[in-house]
């Protein structure tokens, strides 16, 4: 029998290791899997590469991971915010590496990894410093830059409801990066508001089918 529900946050993030690449859902404070990120913090793992849209804010979740020097490198589109104090501090001190990726390219690179593609050409960024060192090709009269897939060891995402097969639905704009991150990681873990019985989710409205999900935890 398939049952992807786990009883504790510790179980949910078991197996995350030093040096892992970790996808973390969320856009600003919307859709961040706060409980899962703190569970990873509690694990004590280091040298993480964290892929997420923003670089944390205040003292919690991603900012806490950065503050505690667990993050060797962050891959994101917008690390700056009024509260991104810890990221900026470590970045100025040269203690954290930043790979800046246009937001659409960030989600598309994860999609390519999840979709088994070898990379793609995008016009976004092709005429900018972010294309430096990358292959640029004129396609249909327009410059495009080649971007590689971005696969990961673990994805931590937040959803609304899950069943025991791991089918997920989300809540409003908290959906953001969850569905694509779920496809791109070797192990995908979702924190959800509640579990429902198998068959309760409308098959027409499931957003992330369970095939992309390994563990779900209520938090």
């Amino acid at each position: 029998m398939i049952d992807k529900r786990v009883a504790s946050l510790a179980e949910a993030v078991a197996g995350v290791r030093d040096g892992d690449t970790v996808l973390v859902g969320g856009f600003g404070n919307s859709g961040v899997p706060v409980a899962l990120v703190h569970a990873v913090l509690d694990l004590g793992v280091r040298d993480l590469t964290v892929v997420t849209n923003n670089a944390g804010s205040g003292e919690t979740d991603i900012a806490a991971l950065i503050r505690e020097r667990r993050v060797r490198k962050i891959i994101c589109s917008y690390p700056r915010s009024s509260g991104s104090v810890w990221f900026e501090k470590l970045w100025r001190a040269g203690e954290i590496e930043l790979e800046l990726v246009p937001q659409g390219t960030l989600s598309e690179r994860m999609r390519a990894a999840g979709a088994g593609l070898g990379g793609f050409f995008t016009p976004a960024g092709a005429d900018t410093p972010l294309a430096e060192g990358k292959e640029v090709r004129v396609i249909g009269g327009r410059r495009h830059v080649f971007e590689e897939p971005l696969p990961a060891d673990v994805a931590l995402i937040k959803a609304h409801l899950a069943d025991r097969w791991g089918n997920l639905v989300y809540h409003s704009a908290a959906r953001n990066f969850g569905p694509v991150m779920a496809t791109a990681a070797r192990v995908t873990v979702a924190q959800v508001s509640a579990f429902v019985e198998l068959g309760e989710l409308d098959p027409e409205a499931v957003v992330t089918p369970g095939i992309f999900v390994d563990r779900v935890v209520a938090a």
Partner: protein
């Protein structure tokens, strides 16, 4: 006189036809939604997976996860929909957004846009969805003050800051004028009352031309 921010927004809003799919950049451009004539039905898109975005909720109400690209609380109108980030960028990069209104540090006479990075190396770089939007929207409108706070021109022969995208801007709305980017460079379509051509040119590093609209 100079246009206020709200007057600039109202001028931009005039050029957004009924039925448009529109993405408003963070900051100044978000004002546009407040001043679009009420008889026009506009569908606002947000890069974090929203179409049919409505105004901010009443103080103390609202869904904390329902935010716009600027991380402000918003609402969803009837007919709106949620989707994931990758689909949001299919819309942006794929030519499905009719109009985007963006802020700018610099705009060049050929339509090059610089709106994500300055030459201040003490700030970590941050780009967000600006590049995808600039290359992908059908019409890219820029809304900006005509000069920087310390009076330096923002409309230049070529940008000196790192580009967001090359040759993408269609029209620029400033507190002094409305200018189209044409194969012959900036063409001034409108100026605020009382401003002379020489005065506008003096605040613009790129050469200006005048044509009737």
């Amino acid at each position: 006189m100079r246009l206020t921010k709200r007057q600039m927004a109202a001028r931009v809003a005039q050029d957004i036809p009924d039925g448009s799919y529109v993405n408003l950049g963070i900051g100044l451009p978000t004002l546009v939604a407040d001043v679009v004539p009420p008889d026009r039905e506009i569908v606002y898109h947000s890069e974090n997976g929203i179409l049919g975005m409505g105004p901010a909720p009443q103080e103390g109400t609202g869904d904390p996860e329902l935010i716009n690209a600027g991380k402000q609380l918003v609402t969803l109108l009837p007919g709106g929909a949620y989707f994931h980030h990758t689909d949001a960028f299919v819309m942006m990069r794929g030519g499905h957004i009719d109009i985007t209104v963006l802020g700018a540090f610099q705009v060049a006479a050929n339509g090059d846009l610089a709106n994500w990075a300055t030459d201040d190396a003490t700030l970590p770089p941050a780009v967000g969805g600006a590049m995808d939007l600039a290359v992908g929207a059908r019409r890219v409108l820029v809304m900006t003050t005509h000069t920087t706070r310390d009076g330096r021109p923002k409309l230049l022969p070529t940008c000196t800051f790192p580009l967001t995208a090359a040759a993408v801007v269609h029209r620029v709305y400033t507190d002094l004028a409305v200018l189209d980017v044409t194969p012959d460079g900036f063409v001034v379509r409108e100026m605020v009352p009382g401003l002379t051509r020489d005065e506008l040119q003096a605040q613009t590093a790129a050469p200006l031309r005048w044509e009737e609209p």
